[in-house]
């Protein structure tokens, strides 16, 4: 390991450790409901971060990550039922299985340019949940499979709340995913992802294997979706097809866009928004006494508006827009009152 790599690893570990301490304090003080919300944010973060690597860093769009989360969730349910491994091993196996599924999709994806890939993954998102009905004996039809809730270790005390333990599991998963992805983005693979995103032909001339790079990005991101799906199954205690609709895939993409297409810090905001928005829109429609039809669709309408507005107004996402605004302020202060020439992007 070179010196630079060691510094990067140490820095990412330090960030994760600091975040871990913060989450430990937070989860120990807030209510059970808030702990469920934190757990939900944590698994959304894993999925959004994985999609961020694929879309933001590598320039591939997937509308099928909701379906890949389904693979992870069902794998967790099935493996957990069949063997008595520790939960971490079950989740790792589920992520691995989803990565293999991702390899199949990704191998096809490497030959598919932008819109083709989006269309193919759309077919995956629309078609995969129906398998639960086709193989209803094995996958439990529309009721899905139940997952036994994790039992907090006895050393934490008999009254340790289940929700806090679930939040810890989900946050641990999120932190591990963060460290791995942050390192990956700083490694040669990360540079290859971005090179291929920016200019495939230039990347090829520079010696990168374009197709292989795209497959690697897809597999990494699928593994994240699998882990996220597994965590979802652990937190909600169920893996059912109704949770993995096209809407979930769109929500994940909205999270990526909100987070600014390509930064892991942005993925945190994106994941938080995906949890808070539906809850806020429920509160809002409650306060305005809107009809249940409106209430049920308010968050979805907001996702749609975000996808349209961010691309039209701020193509770099909120994180990017914020960064640019701060940069501009900084610029102006540095240059004093000198007239500034408008620069083209």
């Amino acid at each position: 390991m070179t010196g630079v790599a060691r510094v990067t690893l140490a820095r990412n570990l330090a960030i994760a450790a600091a975040a871990g301490v913060g989450l430990w304090v937070l989860t120990s003080t807030v209510s059970a409901y808030a702990n469920v919300q934190i757990a939900t944010m944590a698994y959304y973060f894993v999925a959004v971060a994985g999609l961020t690597v694929l879309t933001g860093q590598n320039g591939q769009v997937s509308l099928g990550h909701g379906a890949l989360m389904a693979v992870g969730a069902y794998a967790t349910a099935k493996i957990g039922e069949a063997v008595t491994w520790p939960l971490a091993a079950v989740l790792a196996a589920a992520a691995l299985l989803t990565a293999i599924a991702g390899l199949l999709v990704g191998a096809a994806a490497a030959r598919l340019r932008g819109p083709y890939l989006a269309g193919a993954t759309l077919a995956l998102a629309v078609g995969l949940p129906a398998l639960a009905t086709r193989f209803s004996d094995f996958l439990g039809a529309s009721n899905g499979l139940t997952v036994a809730p994790p039992i907090p270790p006895a050393s934490l005390g008999a009254t340790f709340p289940l929700e806090r333990w679930q939040a810890w599991i989900a946050c641990a998963g999120a932190l591990i995913a963060y460290v791995l992805l942050a390192n990956l983005m700083r490694s040669g693979y990360g540079r290859a992802f971005r090179a291929v995103r920016d200019d495939e032909i230039a990347a090829q001339l520079a010696g990168y294997h374009v197709a292989r790079t795209q497959v690697v990005a897809f597999v990494v991101s699928a593994a994240c979706a699998g882990l996220a799906g597994g965590l979802l199954a652990v937190v909600t205690s169920v893996a059912a097809p109704g949770a993995f609709t096209l809407t979930l895939s769109v929500a994940l993409l909205t999270g990526v866009i909100l987070g600014g297409l390509g930064s892991l810090a942005g993925a945190v905001w994106g994941a938080a928004a995906l949890v808070l928005l539906p809850s806020w829109s429920d509160d809002l429609s409650g306060a305005l006494s809107l009809s249940s039809n409106v209430q049920a669709n308010l968050a979805l309408a907001f996702y749609g508006l975000v996808l349209i507005a961010v691309i039209l107004v701020a193509p770099h996402g909120l994180q990017g827009a914020l960064g640019k605004a701060i940069g501009r302020m900084w610029d102006q202060r540095r240059r004093g009152r000198a007239p500034r020439k408008e620069e083209e992007e």
């Binding site: 129906a130 009809s291 691309i311």
Partner: protein
């Protein structure tokens, strides 16, 4: 054997609908190089409008016409207000924006009409013709479907081949800069293209509605089938879309008949991936270069 004949007939009728959906994607792709994911939402919305008209006791045919007219208007509106601003931008932007329109329309439809699936009446009887004492899987409504799609195709061919508007539209899609220099209002042509495409999409919506019921999400699969059919035909050629729709209709009818109807969408995915792996530019493409 009887079952095979039935599935084949059923496949032809479905194929006509997939062809219309494919055509609505191809018309837009040809003109603006945008894959319109919003199409599923647009045709869902116009079908809901038609359902409202019919549900109020007005005649089926008025509902049918209202669907087509609102499709025409919605296509032009969406292009003018939103899509215009991502034309020529990186493909990722157009994908995300059209996806956003899809989700927004689905949310609006959910707010207006709720998520309970509504039954949509067919124009004619859906009972199969009696041939030799057996009711085959082909009804008067299926015949109507095939004829309407054929008529629309003929109309489009006539428009593109023999009218000045068609010529200007082809010029704008083929070489926008040169067309502009020759005095063609390229922007307007794109708007007309979107309006026409959306009209064809709304036709597909009304034709498929009796079999899928009408709800905000019930047309997602039609988007997948339309895209697959369009890719089989090369995504670039309207006649390819028709042939692709027919082939896909037959293939999926057999998949549904022999492997279970839940596997149809995944069957479409398999066909899509296989097509893209073997002949990425569609079944009918000649050799072509990719510009650096």
């Amino acid at each position: 054997m009887q079952r095979f004949v039935d599935l084949t007939l059923n496949g032809i009728a479905n194929g006509a609908i997939y062809a219309a959906a494919a055509l609505s994607l191809v018309l837009i792709w040809r003109a603006t190089r945008i894959l319109n994911f919003a199409q599923a939402g647009m045709l869902m919305f116009t079908t809901f409008i038609a359902w409202t008209v019919i549900d109020h006791g007005v005649s089926y045919w008025l509902g049918f016409l209202v669907a087509l007219a609102s499709g025409l208007a919605m296509g032009a509106l969406v292009e003018r207000t939103i899509v215009r601003r991502v034309e020529g931008a990186p493909p990722l932007n157009a994908i995300i924006v059209t996806l956003g329109i899809l989700v927004l329309l689905q949310a609006l439809a959910g707010m207006l009409w709720g998520s309970t699936p509504r039954s949509f009446p067919p124009a004619f009887s859906i009972r199969g013709y009696e041939i030799g004492g057996h009711a085959v899987l082909f009804s008067r409504f299926d015949l109507f479907t095939v004829l309407v799609v054929a008529a629309v195709m003929a109309g489009l061919v006539a428009l593109f081949s023999w009218t000045s508007l068609g010529l200007r539209m082809r010029a704008s899609a083929f070489e926008p800069e040169v067309a502009r220099l020759l005095g063609v209002r390229v922007g307007d042509m794109f708007t007309v293209g979107w309006a026409l495409a959306s009209l064809v999409g709304s036709l597909a919506g009304v034709l498929v509605a009796p079999s899928v019921f009408v709800s905000p999400n019930s047309f997602d699969a039609i988007l997948v089938f339309g895209f697959t059919a369009a890719v089989i035909g090369g995504l670039d050629s309207p006649s390819g879309a028709i042939v692709g729709g027919g082939l896909l209709g037959l293939a999926l009818s057999y998949v549904s008949g022999y492997a279970g109807s839940e596997t149809v969408t995944l069957g479409a995915l398999a066909i899509l991936v296989a097509t893209l792996m073997v002949r990425p530019a569609g079944l009918f493409a000649g050799p072509r270069e990719r510009r650096v």
